[in-house]
């Protein structure tokens, strides 16, 4: 299937913009990172150990023997290809766009961030796939390591959101069978939903030996609630009842509630040994990727 079969020309041009943007950002991080791309072999030296009878002679480090007159065995760390699956939340709540978010909604921000990550992963010779979801999985792009696979991933990400409600737990529980063998799962969501089911779903993912990174994407308005005066709040997901309130009078209570919610989410991630990264949409992509790369280094 050609890419034009999936997206309109307008959408394609937006994808091209995304690719260009992702490349510009990712290249700065990849320079000199993979000097010798040997697929499937262990090339990364780990340590020396003393020779014991029974060891393969080919593994003896003769240079070390020449210097120290002792027999050492060179040990290497096994390296393998990374399968990265991007789980992108495309629910209605992701459509919020505040005044301070560089003109991007959380959904658009998630698109760009996931595209950048995909480009980065493919640039590292890793396999990338993508799954979008709201209250259920919507699109699924399997993991592939070909550079041309990027277009497929972008096409999945650039599809129009349906504005449905967020059901992280329910959607992910349905995704678990599709994730295949263990790999890296990157979740991009605002996590505006019920967290206990999410907890269970993440536990399922973790039980399958997947490594998970959770990017919580929030608009600055959602973080500090800057509204004043009487505000009529309309639910983007169309589920909750609209509320007309004096924004100032409930700000503290809202921030308390947000803090509790974020604390609970962080706690869930910590309990499941999931890396949690909270990103505001007024933050540039390179900052977000810096955080990601730093996190990956720690994981390694």
């Amino acid at each position: 299937m050609r890419i034009l079969d999936l997206v309109t020309p307008g959408q394609l041009s937006r994808v091209a913009n995304l690719q260009l943007l992702a490349r510009q950002v990712v290249e700065g991080f990849c320079s000199g990172r993979h000097r010798s791309p040997h697929k499937g072999y262990s090339v990364e030296f780990k340590e020396h150990r003393q020779y014991v009878p029974g060891d393969e002679l080919k593994n003896i480090d003769w240079k070390a023997f020449g210097k120290s007159d002792r027999l050492y065995i060179r040990e290497y760390e096994e390296e393998t290809n990374l399968k990265c699956t991007l789980l992108v939340d495309r629910s209605g709540s992701m459509l919020y766009r505040g005044d301070r978010s560089n003109g991007l909604s959380k959904d658009e921000y998630a698109q760009r961030l996931s595209a950048s990550l995909a480009y980065l992963m493919l640039g590292q010779q890793d396999a990338v796939g993508a799954i979008t979801f709201d209250d259920r999985p919507r699109t699924h792009v399997p993991t592939r390591g070909r550079p041309s696979h990027l277009r497929s991933v972008l096409a999945a990400l650039s599809g129009p959101p349906e504005g449905r409600e967020t059901d992280l737990g329910g959607a992910m529980s349905k995704l678990v069978p599709k994730l295949g063998r263990r790999g890296l799962i990157v979740i991009l969501s605002d996590a505006m939903g019920e967290l206990e089911s999410l907890n269970r779903s993440l536990a399922q993912i973790r039980s399958r030996k997947h490594e998970v990174v959770f990017f919580q994407i929030l608009d600055p308005d959602e973080v500090d609630f800057p509204f004043s005066g009487r505000i009529h709040f309309e639910d983007l997901e169309g589920v909750a009842e609209d509320q007309t309130v004096d924004a100032v009078s409930i700000r503290a209570a809202y921030l308390d509630r947000l803090e509790q919610h974020s604390a609970r989410l962080r706690d869930i991630c910590r309990r499941n040994r999931i890396d949690f990264v909270s990103i505001r949409t007024d933050q540039w992509f390179d900052d977000a990727l810096h955080q990601y790369v730093a996190l990956r280094r720690q994981i390694k």
Binding site: G92, S93, M94, L95, Y96, R100, K106, T166, D190, M192, G193, D219, P220, E222, D224, F225, P226, F227, S228, G229, R230, I231, H232, F233, E234, D235, L236, E237, V239, A240, E241, Q243, T244, V245, D246, V248, S249, I250, R251, A252, A253, Y254, R257, L258, H261
Partner: protein, 763 residues
Amino acid sequence: MMLMNGILALGALALAIPLAIHLLYRSRFKTVQWGAMHLLEPVVRINRRRIQWMHLLLLFLRCALPVLLAFCLARPLLTGFQALPGDAPQTIAVVVDDSMSMAAVDSSGVSRIEQAKQQLGELLMKMSRRDEVIWMPVSEIANSPSTAGLGTMGAGEANDRLRNLSTTMGPFDLASVIRAAVSATQNGSHPDRRVLIVSDFQNGNINDASIESLRTLGNKTAGGEEFPSIQFWKIGGDSEQLSNVSVEAIETLSPAIVPERQTRFAVRFRNASEKEVKFARVTWTVDGSELQPQTISIPSRSTAISQVTHGFKRSGIHEVGVRIEHPDALIEDNRRSIAVDVVREIDVLLVDGKPSAKPLEGQVDFLAIAMSPFAFAQQDQIDSVRAKVVSPNELLKSMDAQAFNIIVLANVAALDANAQNRLAEFVHQGGSMVLFDGEQIENAEYMKSWKYGETRMPLPAVAKEIVGNANMESEAVPMHFGDLNPQYAPWSNLSPGDQQPLRSVDVYAYRKLDPQAVMGLSENSPESVVLLSMSNGDPIVLSARRGRGRVIQFAIPANDSWTSLPLKRIYLPMMQQLALDLVGSDKATTVTTCQPMIVPISEFTSRDEAKDETNEATKELKGAAKVAYTVEPPGGVEIPLEPSQDPLALLSFAKTHHAGVYRFRQIRTLSAEDRIINSTVRVAEIPAEESLLRDMPPERLTAVTEMIGASVFDDLSSLKSSEQSRRFGREIWRWLLYVLLIAMILELVVQQQLVHRNQVSVA
């Protein structure tokens, strides 16, 4: 309730502004497509009720602020506290304490009277023109309208009098003052009456009797009698912290003062401070001329005495003053004066009832020697007493020829009615008569009933039988005198160090005197005082005041026929002191301020003139002269006086409000250029108790106020506030202001809860 600035209450309509803003605010809102409704919806659901209440509270407070402010400015009055219509004129009796303690200066350097003048003046100036004031300084309480019929005055005139007020009064009785003030208000022409007493309320102003008097007054109030509102305005209140040194008293240590004889004076200073006074300069003055200055040290909280000796050149009334130089809280009491009467040479007429040609055999021979010892010894020194001995037949002739101070009747057997009348009149006009006993008295009719015009002049005692052996037979056992009356000062120091100087005197006979029997003869006669008695208690010497003079009655003769007294050394000073006392004690030369001064016209007559009274030419000259009398108060202008028309011819002056020397003058105008001016002085002094600065105990003041329903105020503002409430109702703008401030603070707090706690801090 009423509003003093009612128009400003319309400002309360400003409550519509926050109301309109609130409604406008509710109708306008902004729509936001919100993603995190998962978080917002439960927050709104949980806090909706609280937020609504907070908004309503905020709305209420914001509406209340302009309402409260408007009512504050409108000055509402709670008329429930109003006693009378607010614009009704009032009669106020202003009683100002002008006692000397009001001159005390506190740490601020301003005296209490000056504080009272300033603040009371301010109060008077703010009174309505229709209000009337009864001006009653404490020193003029006796002249208050209720008793003297004086009218009321406006506040302006009262203020003028206030400015001229000075502190000259001694201690006063608070109960009397309150009664006088309450009585004075009955003359007021307005139904709203009140008494304002401005004082420092010293402890000396009230005693148990005063409290009883006030309790009676309070009971009348409770009984429904019309009673003015009484207000106490307390000035000062720090008396215990003030240090004061005062001249407490000046005393003459001689019974009488005669010219050319040294007289000792003593002054007692009191140091009422905690600090010792060291080497303070003391200045004595006589008639304004300073004597040699002295220095004195007075320990803290004690007294010290200083003495001076001075001889007067001339007879008459002289002022003796003392001044101590020491800076303290009450400078006014650092000086004191007295007026002393320097008597002329005392003329004594000795009437010998049984004369004898033999020396010392007459009735008055010993007495004549005792009265004029220098003349008897033919020495150059001047005797203070000049004695003349006559027989009873020469009595009237001698009295016509010369004025005597004392007439002594010694064993006179009989006196005709004319002589009795003359002698009685002599005594009532201020002369002194001394009666000595003897065997001839037994049948003397005049001793039983002394004629005085149509009435009788009772003697100090009724003469009864002779006790003992009047013939002094050799086997007779002598009797002895008892103790001298210690209360009789002239004889209290006859023999210093000897408690019984008369124990060696043998008494063989004396006449039984019964002073009790006299009491039934005349109810108006003062009681007799026993000056000397026998060891068995029988009176020997009695004294009684009759009119302005005195009668001394002895139960023994003046010679040595019954006793050995005339043979004793003590006889001379005893008779001398008696004579000096009889002459020198009849004039009140020093009076307490506000007490009347009495000056007999005869006091202006000099000795020479008295002699010349017999001269016909002089009499004619006097008759032709026009005589006027004046008095010059201290620091004041001369005031003409009219002598009384009675035979005693007295000058009386009652307005002795100021302490100091009052000069009385007799001006005889013989012609346009020829005037003869005779003068004498009197001194008015403030009692020493006024120098004891002690505030009335608060519990006692409270008891007084409760008895009569009075109120106590410490300053002008509280007094004005109370009066405002009484007349107009209670102003509540202050309370409203407090409520306004509380509402403003509450509004800030609520707003803080609603807004500032939720303030956005956008990065």
